[in-house]
């Protein structure tokens, strides 16, 4: 840096510039940065959607993680005489056709959901984001190649893909996870690609290029923060979809095998006995609904807080 301090002093105007005093120290700036973080937190905490969403998501995580301590019964313990009973003090969510406690099964089923949704969605999100940004920012041939790949994957019905894979490996939870990831990637990648393409000709990306920023830096620092927002919302709304995919595959015997409890298997089993008792469907549906709402609210609130343009006022 050959611009030295004396240069600086000579260009400094006497008095004020822009109507505000110049006597501000680093500490003031840091202070305002931490003020900024406090403001973000406060604006999140005063947002009812954010608080509700966070509470529901925490409830989901806590109930899944602490299921062994919270569950009143072993999820696989049979109580044939009390089969298909409605809610009671003994079984607060009733029992299934084998007399297993539905509440305990829901808690344990949450663990499967957490594993599939948490790992599946986040891995798919990250891979989709990276591939999408590369497709959107990279050369035309790479974009076309990736699009071909995404479309190929999407053109497979999930179930057919699962059947084909099961024939090779046999059913397992890991298989469900892999299928969920592979089939979700194109969705994220396409959104990320479109968002990236709308950014590449903006002045600020051009400005970064003119400063000499590398492609990696542009993608990581300037494109990603701007495209990640919609993806997070998509991810939050994808969680329940993934849970239902798991349920569907489990129902077909391609996913989670009985007697392991999952929300999908509870719903499916409940569906078979719905003429006898509605409680299993109700009990299996409620956690799904709450989780969906929780993640959706959380996703929207996070977007509002972290996108500085969405924040109202100055």
């Amino acid at each position: 840096m050959s611009v030295n301090r004396s240069d600086l002093n000579s260009t400094l105007p006497a008095g004020t510039a822009g109507g505000e005093p110049l006597h501000v120290t680093v500490a003031d700036v840091r202070e305002s940065a931490s003020q900024e973080r406090r403001d973000k937190l406060r604006s999140f905490l005063t947002n009812w959607q954010g608080v509700t969403g966070l509470a529901l998501v925490l409830l989901f995580f806590a109930s899944a993680i602490f299921a062994p301590w919270l569950a009143p019964y072993d999820p696989n313990a049979l109580d044939i005489p009390a089969r298909m009973s409605g809610p009671s003090w003994d079984h607060i969510a009733g029992t299934d056709q084998l007399g297993r406690d539905t509440f305990s099964r829901i808690l344990y089923g949450g663990r499967v959901a957490l594993k599939i949704a948490g790992i599946g969605v986040s891995v798919a999100l990250v891979i989709g984001l990276v591939l999408g940004m590369i497709a959107g920012y990279g050369p035309r041939w790479l974009d076309n190649l990736l699009l071909l790949l995404f479309d190929t994957v999407r053109s497979f019905p999930t179930i057919v893909l699962a059947l084909a894979t099961v024939a090779l490996t046999g059913p397992s939870l890991e298989l469900v996870l892999i299928i969920v990831i592979v089939t979700s990637i194109p969705g994220y990648a396409r959104v990320a690609r479109t968002a990236t393409m709308s950014l590449i000709n903006t002045d600020f990306i051009l400005a970064e290029r003119s400063l000499g920023a590398s492609t990696t830096r542009i993608l990581a620092h300037h494109v990603m923060p701007n495209v990640a927002g919609p993806l997070l919302i998509l991810a939050a709304m994808d969680v329940p979809v993934v849970v239902t995919v798991e349920a569907g595959l489990s129902f077909l015997g391609l996913g989670v095998l009985p007697p392991t409890a999952s929300w999908g298997t509870i719903l499916n089993e409940g569906y078979l006995v719905i003429r006898d008792t509605p409680w299993m469907v109700v009990a299996g549906g409620i956690p799904l609904i709450l989780t969906t709402l929780g993640f959706t609210f959380l996703g929207e609130a996070l977007r509002d807080v972290f996108d500085p343009r969405m924040r109202k006022g100055g």
Binding site: L12, D28, A33, Q35, F204, G212, A213, H221, G314
Partner: protein
């Protein structure tokens, strides 16, 4: 004379999470029948808000707190929605700023114009069509009978604005509102639209309200002027009174800041220091006191008196009456009441004869328009258009070169090509005698420290999720420069561009145009470059602020010996800061020489048109003719001979066949015209 519209004591606020923003405070002025009223003010003055209040089209968070708008005998603010609907379009209509977005892209003009006449059940479809065609004819659209069946995208920008005016006039409104009607257009088109409005005004018996920040437009078009500042009317008067005898210090300052009014070419422009006050906070005293050079203690505490003879000639200022009356105010016109920036430009530290910093020779940039297959199918041999054609240009250290042209002239492409952001087909670009054209990014990256670019959109060229601090130090991080204290560096750069330090924690969208522009300058300067390419450095800035930015750039140039290539369409502005000018048209440089000489004595007809295209901010010097007609042709339809032949008033047969070569008048002044004007 009858009053058509009377705004009385109008106050309006916007409810925002930051509090109530008092956007308009006690606005009163009459609009008399048959007159043209100009409302002039900078951004944030509330001038457009008045228009929306008249039409009842305010944003949902707006609330009128007092006052009335009397249109003939009705109070528009008290009318029901259906009552307003009957007035809108029928009795009061609007010409919008941007014809691109204010016309329906999927309907033909004929259809859009039928729809405007929906309240005329007595008119048959054929009558409506005839009426619409007549109106299109009136606004100067050639062959209206067939063009009316076309869609907006078939029309060029200037034609679209003409069609917009035709649609506004279709119902024969009593009052026509025009919101920045020429801001989205190039200078030569602006001149044409002003001329059209002048003609229509005398032909049709319509009262017109023009809202604009452009003093030249107001001076050419209006009979009366309302000057607004920060939500208040500060001065009202006849156009000659406002331009020749302004009473309010703000009006005076605004006029002095207009570069088109400054005859003397100097490197500094006058400025109004400071920012517009925050209208969410309570205001006491005179609203302009914080920026006024003549502010007295009383100005900050007591509201200024309204001094004037009638409702249509007054100004609000303590200097004009009362105990603080200053008989010396206003001073004679040749006295400058605003400062010319903070410091005087120091003598240049770097001599000009040190050889060339940047040298562009016969540069060509082409854009592919179709793939080989579709070109073959359509039997087209040229698959590209020439965006930049045989351009030669040089910039020496410490020198400012202005590159001037209308949109579509290729000036921005040229700037980006020099910085290796757009590939060039052939020619040469040398920087400090090194060939850099189409250099691999890996080799070019170190050179980016020496060449910086400022982009057109001050806010849009800043990454929206980054704080100002992160944006300013970004170049240092990109080039991996060892910098022990980035915070200190950010502050040093902020001070250098006179950006208040608290703004370092803000985000781009929270900055005003001028502040964002300073951030752009700080980023450009972070690596201490030798050359800065500035694309429209004053675009989107108010007159009072653009001087500050240009003075800042001049100061930095004087200190560091920077070379500037300033790309702009704004001839009066670059004229004051440039050593040399290059005028570009359809990708070619048509004239190139010393700035003063080109401005005073242009050789190329296009340069002359550009010089004359700028409206003169003097109501006594209104133009009576338009110097050039038509618009810049599409690059796809480049004329066979001289590029300018389709619009040139002096074109002759030879011009239509041959391309004129560059010829020299003096060693440093050349042009490309067979029949130069000098």
């Amino acid at each position: 004379m009858d009053t058509l519209l009377d705004i009385r004591n109008l106050s309006l606020e916007f409810r925002t999470p930051r509090g109530r923003v008092k956007a308009l405070r006690e606005i009163s002025f009459p609009i008399r029948k048959g007159r043209t009223i100009g409302i002039v003010g900078e951004s944030g003055s509330g001038k457009s808000t008045i228009l929306w209040a008249i039409l009842g089209l305010l944003a949902s968070n707006a609330k009128v707190t007092s006052g009335e708008i009397m249109f003939e005998d009705r109070n528009l603010l008290a009318l029901s929605e259906s009552g307003l609907q009957a007035v809108r379009g029928e009795e009061i209509s609007v010409v919008f700023q941007d014809p691109m977005t204010s016309q329906i892209p999927v309907l033909t003009y004929a259809r859009q114009m039928f729809d405007i006449l929906y309240r005329r059940p007595g008119m048959s479809a054929a009558e409506k069509r005839r009426h619409a065609v007549e109106m299109m004819q009136k606004v100067g659209i050639a062959d209206p009978e067939s063009r009316i069946d076309q869609y907006p995208h078939h029309f060029s920008g200037g034609m679209r604005q003409r069609a917009g005016i035709a649609m506004a006039l279709l119902t024969g409104p009593k009052l026509l509102l025009a919101d920045e009607p020429t801001t989205a257009l190039d200078v030569t088109l602006e001149a044409q639209i002003i001329h059209l409005l002048q003609e229509l005004k005398s032909e049709l018996d319509t009262t017109v309200v023009v809202v604009s920040h452009n003093l030249g437009l107001i001076a050419e078009l209006c009979d009366e002027v309302v000057v607004m500042y920060a939500g208040e009317v500060v001065e009202v008067g006849e156009v000659r009174q406002i331009f020749h005898d302004p009473r309010h210090p703000y009006t005076r300052a605004l006029l002095e800041c207009d570069p088109a009014r400054i005859e003397k070419a100097s490197r500094r422009l006058p400025v109004i220091l400071g920012d517009i006050p925050d209208l969410a906070k309570p205001q006491t005293g005179c609203i302009y006191a914080t920026r006024c050079q003549r502010a007295m203690p009383i100005c900050r505490t007591d509201a200024p008196p309204v001094v004037g003879l009638t409702v249509s000639r007054f100004a609000k200022c303590h200097l004009l009456a009362g105990p603080h009356h200053d008989p010396q105010w206003p001073p004679p016109p040749d006295v400058l009441t605003v400062p010319m920036g903070e410091s005087v430009a120091a003598p240049r530290t770097v001599g000009r004869a040190q050889g060339e910093l940047l040298n562009v020779t016969n540069l060509n940039v082409q854009f592919q328009i179709m793939g080989p297959v579709s070109a073959w199918m359509r039997g087209i041999t040229r698959r590209h258009v020439d965006a930049v054609l045989d351009v030669s240009l040089s910039v020496r250290p410490g020198e400012t070169v202005g590159l001037v042209g209308e949109s579509g002239s290729g000036k921005t492409t040229l700037g980006r090509t020099i910085l290796n952001l757009v590939p060039a087909q052939n020619g040469s670009v040398t920087f400090e005698n090194r060939e850099i054209r189409n250099m691999a990014e890996r080799h070019f990256k170190p050179l980016r420290r020496d060449m910086a670019m400022m982009f057109q959109d001050p806010v849009g060229s800043l990454s929206p999720r980054k704080s100002v601090r992160a944006l300013i130090v970004e170049p240092i991080l990109i080039h991996g420069i060892d910098c022990p204290d980035l915070d200190a560096e950010a502050e040093r750069l902020a001070d250098l561009v006179r950006l208040p330090r608290p703004l370092l924690a803000r985000y781009p969208h929270e900055l005003s145009g001028g502040q964002a522009r300073r951030v752009g300058v700080a980023r450009a300067l972070a690596l201490n470059p030798k050359l800065i390419i500035a694309d429209e450095p004053t675009a989107g800035l108010d007159v009072s602020v653009q001087g500050e930015i240009l003075n800042l750039m001049a100061d930095l140039q004087a200190e560091h010996g920077l070379g500037y290539l300033i790309i702009t369409h704004n001839l009066p502005v670059v004229r004051h800061i440039s050593d040399r000018l290059a005028i570009m048209y359809l990708g070619r440089i048509v004239e190139h020489g010393p700035a003063d000489e080109i401005f005073r004595n242009p050789a190329h007809p296009y340069t002359k048109a550009l010089v004359e295209g700028v409206p003169n901010p003097d109501p006594d010097r209104r133009r009576t003719h338009v110097s050039i007609s038509g618009e810049v042709p599409s690059l796809l339809r480049r004329p066979q001979g001289c590029d300018f032949v389709t619009r040139c008033p002096y074109a002759q047969d030879r011009c239509r066949i041959e391309k004129p070569p560059h010829s020299r008048i003096t060693p440093d002044h050349d042009h490309a015209c067979f029949f130069p004007l000098r």
